[in-house]
Symmetry: D2
Subunit: 409 residues, 4 copies
């Protein structure tokens, strides 16, 4: 067996913004024996996870579950709804938004990037008015889709998707609204139907607390309608056969059975009324994020996302003072304290690092992570204004968790 | 947790031709905590599984590992090497060959089916001379690729891939040779380089003994060359970025980490010299298949594949006498004896069932499966000429396993 | 990691009469993180397994759970109820009965062996009339306890415990009735209260389907009363403190937490009404045993236990023809077919082997075991009258399981 | 399945002084299928763990491994070496020393308690000169054994065992030296042979990082000699048969197979030269303990053990200010922060709590625990002199771990 942890003892702290730590309960579910994906037990499992994911996406429409990681679901959203050369408007909130843009280009779409200039756009959420203005100018309705990232994993900006929907409506534009909520879903509030999204893309290894390997498309009737005339070649990603087979809980090709076991368990955990259900999950992540931000502010360091309303419940980007290499800090922290943090990506490589607080957390795992950061920052010679650890303890101690202890079963 | 086995006690016998039973050792490997796919431990894991898969495919060329199930790797082989409207020659050995054909058509390729007529082609392996004749007739070299299935999972026909290579060479035709060895790899002999294959497609849930969820493209320099000018849109499946990132053991997007843990373990198991390495694996499966066929012959039932040379070491199709519904027999066996068998597919639905003997087997798991079949066939009213169980015991007892007990570690 | 299976592939068949195969479901339960054995969650677990074990023993009295293997519970039964030099009557049904006798002697009790002479007593269950006669002769009531083995693991004799109770009552003798049901409990019918047993000893690694490591004393009010004056030194095994602490679900010293997780799961499985509860469990084992005995009879070999009424639902002893070394046959079967069988013990070492059919079985695991035996017997040169495998298939096919498939959850 | 964690999300922090957190690697090892404890693989496992435990105890003499929890091994040490009514000198360092005394009394030994008066003795290690004085006074050599606790789990005092040995030698007294290192072994330095111990008692659930359920006696030739004439009744605990069977890696009765899998893994981890072997383990725990004590001092709270030389590397007792109920603080911390701390026991119940830093730790798990304590203490209204969390961070950051990162395998 390959050695998976180079540290001598103790548990690794995986505090990157995904993959998030997989709870033991889900690892155990995944260790069930693989079954016949055409047998009767499988149908029960299939219907169950499909229904569970509708509740997680807050949609009454079908949800596609792909045996593929999240990037595949980006591709699926595009090839099912668009035709070669179609113009698509892609809002750049950060590195992942730009990667999706690049993927769309490679597929032969005519992408148009929109957003604030330079690195400024990487410190804020989507500015919906820019979309509205652009769509109003597209009087011929050439633009076929607007693509935005709900939670930009590279910066920690959570955008207001309902505002984007309203912008498109205000422009009276027929473009589809395609949203990447790979890192947002199941940690940050998300309402596919209520927010009028046409396709939401997501993945397993973030708020759903699973290993990577399955991904999702939640759809709207308008998106399904678009798929009937979309001309991009597709087969593996094609919705039509999946929708047909899903009616009885099966898939047209071999599904990722063991990850579906884990998904069934994740849905049970996230939707458990004893823990406040999805709303409890969202509230917990808001609180944890606030504690982490209190720490960063106490250190006297900048948070990557400057707009308070867009600061993510999923991750926090910590900007290094001029002259400090964020990746050298990360390496020191990893080697010395067995804590993995997210690197800066693209335009902000080396300028910041990211602390994940998504998925399966609690106050003390976050205190551990913040302690590791604080010790590492000091060891790296970063001057801190004060103790972030102290600030986070003050916050967590004075703000009780939103859902109390469950009762004994 | 969803109930995954409706039977009251004991272990389910999963004897479908894939997914095959996942050994505990692999399930344990998969239960390691998910790690940072950009961290230092991951690179070690990545390089290790990439090197392991080269040995499994018997190739010195790169192997692509996709975080997607096998159907995706079919798509990948095509979109990386071909352009819209390209003619491709697809040999029909059975249901999966015809599904690959269908997938190619959906992607906009001009597929031409070749093979023996009616159901006759579903009882034999690839007739290489038909390919040679067809290619010789294609004097303009319009045909860009020849697609064949190494081990046809729907019938149990293993084709002679080297003969296909020689047929293409004999026709002096430049078409690429694309081979599906999804169910063949790591149970049936396979030699990617020696047999001159351009792209081999495979998946995790068969001879590799993993759950479904990762799949493979082994390539040739000629295939890589073709990918430089191929025009089918692609991004998720595109080889170029994967090859670049794989140099250091990483992937351009999030890989399926926990299945890669399992893959590292599977490579260790399959290549273990104490068990005879890959050749030992092939020899074991040949012997098991012969024992199972001895049983079918003793029952007086027909084997789906009539050519002895093409009868698969991976699975055996058992043809029902006229008037017997094979699926009713399967259902009885599943309900009464907790044994899953493969259904007949496509043209032969209801006419036969399939016994898988791939992946992680031993003599007694197969005796259990054959006992379940024999009891079930009798309970279903099928007249049997004799005891297949007896014949298989005679065969296994008189033919020792190719590799003896390992020594104590 | 030590290499735990010297065979190259496939699943080991563990068909000894204990430890029995541990179901995955129980292994998963045991992999929960160890918790504080003084914390609130633990009390919930403790009360649950204590109540579950009362249902398994069919008693309303307390059940002691020891963090020790079964031999310890033998010792516990004696040291809690007896004083140095106390005469105890120990019925010899086989090797384990004689080991218990030996243990009692080592503890300073005055043991008296009773039973049929020579090896004859090892082929039958307890002859209750011998006990009655002996007790009637003990007019001074010197004998303080009668010890019998419910299911003699070394021979496969299940004794009629109610008949022993009646014998003691008929003799109007106050001796305690101590019963070893280590291998009987939860596979063979057992009714602690109804049968008037004073102490029943059991262990985890048989019908309860757990690894070895916990063991039990079920008690009667009379046994508790006896413990108040019993003078054998004891502390670890002493009932008094355990009974006191168990009231709230805790133990006086550190319990075997992870095995208790498994025990909670085992109780759920054994008592599940969807599978017929305990009575369903007993019926399944009776049927499996009958199938195995049909095989032995068809081979023309003798069953160790000659009295039909005492032939065990837990295991079957197979006597070798004169001149055949049973252990050489076992070794061949283990090496060639990866099947573990039980050795002959004590007086019958080398004369017979034992097939376990306890705990978590189904028809096909038993068919696998019988196939391995039949092939191995033939390879060892044992002349067989016919096919036991065929006879078992005939039996299993013509006798449906007592509880049908559960419904989908 | 019983609900094992009443908290909604995240990982429980088990920081009691045992059971300590079981590493995933050990849980995985324990999930191997149970094998025949009389088969060939088992012998390999048995010899391996027996050899491993000799290295852990630092002894060339045999080590007994019991399928029972630690209290049983206390009993075993006594019943194998002593006779009814034998006088034994028992040094009281705290609650566990007094429980061992109580157990010895229940077994019929004549125990004499020795130590400092009142609660003073519970704040220091063994005062060897008191033992020397008492033994010198015993001119008839009536005292047969001296019993001391190496690491007193109830207070956090680690005693100097070599000093005790020297005290006995200085008194020229033949009494056996029996030592409880249940919570010391494999976290605190321990040298059975070099320190001249006759019997060392230990258990699995502390430094060995296993669940509870197996326990140990390491012995000396003098102890073995004593066992030949010792008269306390014994069978389950008797060394003679175990020593005989252990020669080939087996046990006289059913061992706790799955915990032995875990033990093999634990030995590999503890002895791994890449992590500095046992000496590395000891150094890591010394450093962690120093960090935790720095925190307690910064809080302005007293450490239970006042002698610096006796402060344990395994746990730290934190004394509450007058008027504060330590158990109310613990309860608040458990409920609010999902952190389990050890309660005060016996004489000091309610006056202090205990932080475990044994077994599988790292800097950040301890920072998490200290953060939970600091927040909880404040919420409970305890006035703190300063931030213990800050002090611990200062200590850990300025003192590098004794063994650096392992190299990639």
């Amino acid at each position: 067996m390959v050695t998976l942890d180079f540290h001598p003892t103790g548990r690794h702290f995986l505090q990157i913004p995904g993959p998030s730590p997989v709870p033991d309960r889900i690892l155990r579910a995944m260790s069930h024996p693989t079954i016949d994906h055409r047998g009767p037990e499988f149908g029960v499992l299939g219907l169950r996870v499909l229904a569970g994911m509708q509740r997680i996406f807050q949609t009454k429409q079908p949800v596609m579950i792909y045996p593929a990681s999240g990037t595949g679901a980006w591709e699926a959203a595009l090839v099912n709804t668009l035709s070669p050369g179609d113009p698509v408007l892609m809002y750049e909130t950060g590195h992942f938004a730009s990667l999706w843009n690049r993927l769309a280009s490679r597929l032969g779409l005519k992408t148009e990037s929109i957003g604030l200039p330079g690195t400024e756009g990487w410190r804020k959420g989507v500015q919906a008015h820019l979309i509205e203005e652009r769509l109003k100018a597209d009087t011929q309705h050439a633009i076929k889709a607007v693509c935005v990232v709900h939670n930009e994993t590279s910066t920690g900006a959570t955008s207001n998707i309902l505002a984007v929907r309203r912008a498109i409506d205000a422009a009276k534009h027929p473009a589809l609204l395609l949203v990447d909520s790979i890192s947002g879903l199941a940690s940050a509030e998300y309402r596919h139907d209520e927010w009028g999204v046409d396709v939401t893309v997501s993945g397993s290894q973030k708020g759903l607390m699973l290993p990577p390997g399955i991904s999702f498309n939640a759809v709207s009737p308008k998106a399904i309608e678009a798929s009937r005339s979309a001309k991009l070649p597709r087969s593996f990603w094609a919705w039509d056969e999946i929708l047909e087979m899903n009616k009885t809980g099966y898939w047209p090709y071999t599904p990722n059975t063991n990850l579906l076991y884990g998904l069934a368990e994740a849905c049970d955990m996230l939707l458990d009324p004893a823990h406040g259900g999805l709303e409890g999950t969202f509230a917990r992540h808001r609180r944890w994020a606030e504690g982490v931000r209190a720490a960063v502010r106490a250190w006297g360091l900048e948070i990557q996302v400057t707009e308070a309303a867009s600061q993510s419940p999923v991750l926090t980007g910590v900007v290094m003072p001029e002259g400090v290499d964020a990746d050298a800090v990360r390496k020191l922290i990893y080697e010395r304290f067995d804590l993995s943090l997210g690197t800066g990506l693209g335009k902000i490589k080396g300028r910041m690092f990211r602390i994940g607080h998504l998925g399966d957390c609690n106050d003390l795992t976050l205190m551990a992570a913040l302690s590791g950061c604080e010790m590492g920052l000091k060891l790296a010679g970063v001057k801190l204004a004060g103790s972030g650890v102290q600030a986070a303890m003050d916050y967590f101690a004075s703000h009780a968790a939103p859902v109390a202890l469950r009762q004994a079963a």
